[in-house]
C-alpha cells in the first residue's frame, strides 16, 4: 500500500469516525497536553493498522479496537513514565473548541474516568451501542465475562450517582 493510499483512507476514517477518537481521548486523558499526546498516539496506531485492515469488520469496529488498545497502552506507559517533553517544543494537533459545554456530559465523563482503564473501554463500547457479543469479539474475552464486567460497571456507575 502506498503512503498516498494510506493517507486517503486515514483522512476518510478521521472524517467519518473522529467521534471515536475524541471519546477515547476524553475518557483516558484529562489535561490538554495529555489529550493531545493520546490523540497523536491513537492516530499513529490507527495509521499503522491501515495496511492490516481487510474489511472483515466495520471500519468503526476496527478503529475502536486499535484506539482502545492504544489508549490502554498509553495509560500504562504514562503511569510509569510521564511525558517529559518541554511544553514549548510541542506542536498541538488537537485544540478544545470554545463551545458551550454540556455539563451532564462532563459529569458522565467524570464517572467514566473513575473506572479502571479496562472497564472504561467496555463502558465506552456499551454506551456506543455495541452488543455483548461484539464487545467479546473485540476485546477477546468470553461473552459471559463481558456480561459480568458490564453488570459490575453499571452497579458502580449507579452507586456513584
Amino acid at each position: 500500500m502506498t503512503e498516498r493510499e494510506q493517507r486517503r483512507i486515514f483522512e476518510q476514517w478521521l472524517g467519518e469516525h473522529r467521534g471515536i477518537f475524541f471519546k477515547i481521548v476524553r475518557a483516558y486523558a484529562f489535561t490538554p497536553a495529555d489529550q493531545d499526546d493520546l490523540f497523536q498516539e491513537i492516530s499513529l496506531q490507527v495509521w499503522k493498522s491501515i495496511p492490516d485492515f481487510r474489511g472483515e469488520s466495520k471500519a468503526s469496529t476496527w478503529i475502536y479496537r486499535v484506539a482502545l488498545y492504544a489508549a490502554l497502552a498509553w495509560t500504562r506507559r504514562e503511569k510509569r513514565q510521564p511525558a517529559t517533553q518541554p511544553l514549548a517544543a510541542v506542536e498541538y494537533t488537537l485544540t478544545i473548541r470554545a463551545e458551550p459545554i454540556d455539563e451532564r456530559l462532563d459529569w458522565l465523563y467524570d464517572q467514566i474516568a473513575g473506572l479502571e482503564p479496562v472497564d472504561r473501554s467496555l463502558c465506552l463500547l456499551l454506551l456506543d451501542g455495541f452488543s455483548y457479543r461484539e464487545m467479546a469479539e473485540m476485546v477477546g474475552i468470553s461473552e459471559s465475562n463481558v456480561g459480568v464486567k458490564i453488570h459490575r460497571i453499571k452497579q458502580k456507575l449507579r452507586s456513584e450517582v
Binding site: R7, L14, R18, G19, F22, K23, V25, R26, Q35, F39, Q40, S43, L44, W47, K48, D52, S57, R65, L68, Y69, L72, A73, R76, R80, E91, Y92, T93, L94, T95, I96, R97, E99, D102, R104, L105, W107, L108, Q111, E116, P117, V118, S121, L126, L127, D128, E137, M138, V139, G140, I141, S144, N145, V148, K149, H151, R152, K154, L157, R158, V161
Partner: protein, 192 residues
C-alpha cells in the same frame, strides 16, 4: 441515575464538536513517529542482521588481503552463520505474529510474546553469541601473537553479562509485568 439515562446523555454528544484537529501538524507527527523505529523487536533483529553481515564481510576482506592462515576464516564464518540465524529468526517471528487474534487481548498477547522474545534473545545472546565469538576471536588473536588482546577480549564477557542483566531488569521485566497485569485485569471474572 439509570444506565439508559446515561446513554441519552452520551448520545447527545454526537452533534458536539469538542476538538479541532490541526491536520497538517497531525500528519507531520505521524510521519515523524512512524519513521522512528518504535518496534524494539524489529530494531534488535535488524541491528543483529546488519552487524553480523557487515562484520563478516569486513573480516573476510581483511583476512583475504592479509593472506593469513586458513584458520583465520573461522572468525568471519561464525559471523555469516549468525547472520543466517538472525534472518531465519526474523522470518520465524514474522510468521508467528500473524497467529495472534485481532482483539484487544490478541494485541496484548502479541506484545507479551514480543517482550518474552526480547528477554530470551538477551539471555541467549551471551551463551550462543558472545561466548563463541569471544572464544574463537581470542584464540585467533592469541595465535597471532597478541596474548594481552586475547585476555582483554575474555574480560569483555563478564562485563557484557552484567550489562545484559541490567538491561533485562531495567527495561524488559517491568514492561512484561505491566502487560501481564493488564492481561489479568482483562481476563479476570469479577465476583457479582
Amino acid at each position: 441515575m439509570e444506565f439508559d439515562e446515561m446513554k441519552v446523555i452520551w448520545d447527545s454528544q454526537s452533534n458536539q464538536k469538542l476538538y479541532a484537529i490541526n491536520e497538517d501538524a497531525l500528519f507531520g507527527q505521524i510521519r515523524r513517529k512512524s519513521r522512528s523505529v518504535d518496534h524494539l523487536v524489529g530494531m534488535v533483529e535488524w541491528v543483529m542482521i546488519a552487524i553480523n553481515l557487515l562484520v563478516g564481510i569486513v573480516l573476510v576482506v581483511d583476512t583475504w588481503r592479509g593472506a593469513g592462515p586458513a584458520y583465520e576464516y573461522a572468525f568471519p564464518a561464525l559471523y555469516f552463520v549468525y547472520f543466517a540465524i538472525a534472518v531465519y529468526a526474523q522470518q520465524t517471528r514474522k510468521r508467528a505474529e500473524v497467529g495472534f487474534a485481532s482483539t484487544l487481548l490478541g494485541e496484548l498477547e502479541k506484545a507479551l510474546w514480543q517482550i518474552n522474545q526480547l528477554i530470551r534473545q538477551a539471555r541467549r545472546m551471551i551463551l550462543w553469541y558472545l561466548l563463541p565469538i569471544v572464544a574463537v576471536g581470542s584464540v585467533v588473536v592469541w595465535l597471532n601473537g597478541k596474548p594481552l588482546w586475547s585476555l582483554a577480549m575474555l574480560l569483555l564477557l563478564p562485563a557484557t553479562y552484567f550489562a545484559s542483566g541490567w538491561e533485562i531488569n531495567k527495561f524488559y521485566l517491568p514492561k512484561k509485568e505491566s502487560l501481564e497485569s493488564l492481561r489479568e485485569t482483562l481476563l479476570a471474572e469479577p465476583n457479582q
